[in-house]
């Protein structure tokens, strides 16, 4: 039963991740940032281009892990896909943190509380939205360890 849930969940997550990755690449090739509600996709070669390639890889890792999902090698693929997303999302959050601390050119040494918090308001890149969903893999890893 758990395997079935895992397969359906990571199939959906894999497809969504793949779509986000492809969109990242398309936006980068297009050369203009894309913004839709709380979602923002950068056309920057580093974040959009290389980042897009990594998101596509994560999507493919998820999809290739579906067959016999709880088997150790298959589960490791899904875990690796999540690690890729954690690297991207982690670095994105780190960039926001580094930008939010200093007071800016001509300003005080440290940012005001308002300025600090405003660095964390949306829009966010796709990987930030994928981050909480990718954490579900920890549940399956934990289950396997117990078993």
């Amino acid at each position: 039963m758990k395997e079935r849930i895992g397969i359906v969940y990571f199939k959906i997550l894999g497809i969504v991740t793949l779509i986000f990755g492809i969109t990242d690449l398309i936006v980068t090739i297009g050369g203009n940032d894309f913004s839709w509600g709380v979602l923002e996709i950068s056309s920057d070669m580093f974040r959009g281009g290389w980042g897009g390639l990594i998101v596509i890889s994560a999507g493919l890792f998820y999809l290739s892990s579906l067959k016999n999902f709880l088997e150790i090698h298959q589960l490791s693929k899904a875990l690796m896909a999540s690690i890729l997303i954690w690297i991207l999302a982690g670095t994105d959050i780190f960039v926001r943190i580094t930008e939010s601390i200093p007071g800016g050119e001509g300003g005080p040494w440290f940012n005001s509380l308002e300025g600090f918090l405003s660095a964390y308001i949306p829009p966010y890149p796709p990987v930030i939205f994928l981050l909480p969903f990718s954490l579900v893999i920890l549940f399956f890893v934990g289950k396997r360890k117990k078993a």
Partner: protein, 404 residues
């Protein structure tokens, strides 16, 4: 009786079957993850992600947070005006050497020993080196580096090296000095020569990367691309030209493990102290020498003589001769100097590539000499050829694209 390689392996297998007891091995999740990182189909995207994270953290910590966030403010807003106001003899040569241009309003333009020298060493290079070595130590401790070596082994064989060449290559991204020592892990003279030459020419050190991130953030990708292409093209050529063996290696790949903070802090402290001892005196000394050369008119004289070569063959302004001389002392200093010269984006890219592939900095030069003068002379001969060929080629590419 001489055995062939296959026969030796057969013999090893027979002996091992007799003397080794094989138990039941169960794959753990760590093992499975480890396998994914060494298979090329899955390992390459993972390596790209690791390098992506590495670069992203490096640039946002060193550039955005430390240098732009605090040190620029500290040095440009407080330290420079203070030095300009308290240092005696404004306009004199002593003032010019130690404080630099009295009209400058930022440390990149002042170019004094105590202003730009200290700013580059402490405000730009130190945070870059700190974060670089911290992440490097983390990757080593986790156990990712040997896997990267296995992954990249096939590519390195094309240039006469093997997977472990990744160790000096990545160390050189921090500082070329320990990287030259690290070439001793390669087995043959041929391999060591190729590695030393390539890292001295094509691998920018952490200090240089930090300053490039500060001065030309939008073009750094193109500069690195040129250097990576150069690394493999000239590595391939050297492998074909130089006689000698490039043997296979067996790499012991340890399991992934939790990093130990004690290990990391010890490695970090050791590397940082080593770097500061080598770099800071050279940055300050470099500033002084370049200023003296400017004051005595040597750089203007050299610029006049070398302008036809610099503008005609490389397509860069004659004023770049100053930074090229500074590059021998410190390459980060040279890139900082380039930022004060007026030139197009493409000339800037060519100039930064030239500074990178031009003569190794004096500290690396000394290390190369320690490894043997034959190696040093050989590397220098390759270096001169590479500068002219590659520098001219880049200029040709810009001309053909119509952007020069």
């Amino acid at each position: 009786m001489t055995l062939t390689t296959d026969e030796r392996w057969d013999l090893i297998e027979k002996i091992s079957h007799k003397v080794v007891t094989f138990g039941k091995f169960e794959h753990t999740l760590k093992d499975a993850l480890g396998e994914l990182t060494v298979k090329s189909l899955t390992g390459i995207p993972i390596a790209i992600a690791v390098l992506y994270g590495f670069w992203s953290i490096f640039s946002s910590f060193a550039g955005t947070l430390c240098t732009d966030g605090f040190f620029v403010k500290l040095f440009d807003g407080h330290f420079l005006p203070w030095m300009q106001s308290i240092f005696p003899g404004k306009g004199g040569w002593f003032y010019y050497i130690f404080v630099g241009d009295p009209a400058a309003d930022n440390c990149f333009e002042a170019f004094g020993v105590l202003t730009s020298g200290l700013f580059v060493a402490i405000g730009v290079v130190l945070p870059a080196i700190f974060i670089f070595y911290l992440m490097m130590a983390l990757l080593e401790d986790v156990g990712y580096m040997p896997r990267l070596a296995v992954l990249i082994d096939t590519i390195f064989h094309k240039i006469g090296l093997h997977g472990y060449a990744i160790v000096p290559s990545i160390l050189a991204l921090g500082c070329n000095v320990p990287a030259v020592t690290a070439t001793r892990i390669l087995e043959t003279k041929k391999q060591r020569f190729i590695m030393m030459t390539l890292l001295a020419i094509f691998i920018p050190c952490g200090a240089q990367l930090g300053i490039m991130q500060e001065v030309i953030p939008e073009s750094i990708g193109i500069v690195l691309l040129y250097l990576i292409f150069g690394y493999f093209i000239f590595g391939f050529i050297l492998n074909k030209l130089i006689s000698g063996k490039s043997p296979e290696i067996l790499i012991d790949v340890p399991p992934y493990q939790k990093p130990l903070w004690n290990n990391i802090s010890r490695k970090l402290r050791m590397r940082l102290v080593g770097f500061l001892k080598t770099a800071v005196p050279f940055v300050l000394f470099g500033c002084a020498i370049v200023n003296i050369l400017y004051l005595t008119g040597t750089i203007d004289w050299l610029a006049k003589i070398l302008t036809p070569l610099l503008t005609g063959w490389f397509g860069v302004p004659g004023e770049t001769v100053g930074p090229l001389i500074a590059a021998f002392l410190r390459k980060d200093l040279a890139v900082a100097q380039l930022s004060a010269i007026e030139m197009s984006k493409y000339q800037m890219i060519t100039s930064v590539v030239l500074v990178s592939i031009y003569f190794p900095c004096v500290a690396t030069f000394v290390m190369l000499l320690k490894e043997g003068w034959e190696n040093l002379l050989g590397s220098l001969a390759v270096l001169v050829t590479v500068i002219f060929l590659y520098g001219g080629l880049i200029n040709l590419i810009w001309t053909l694209l119509g952007v020069q």
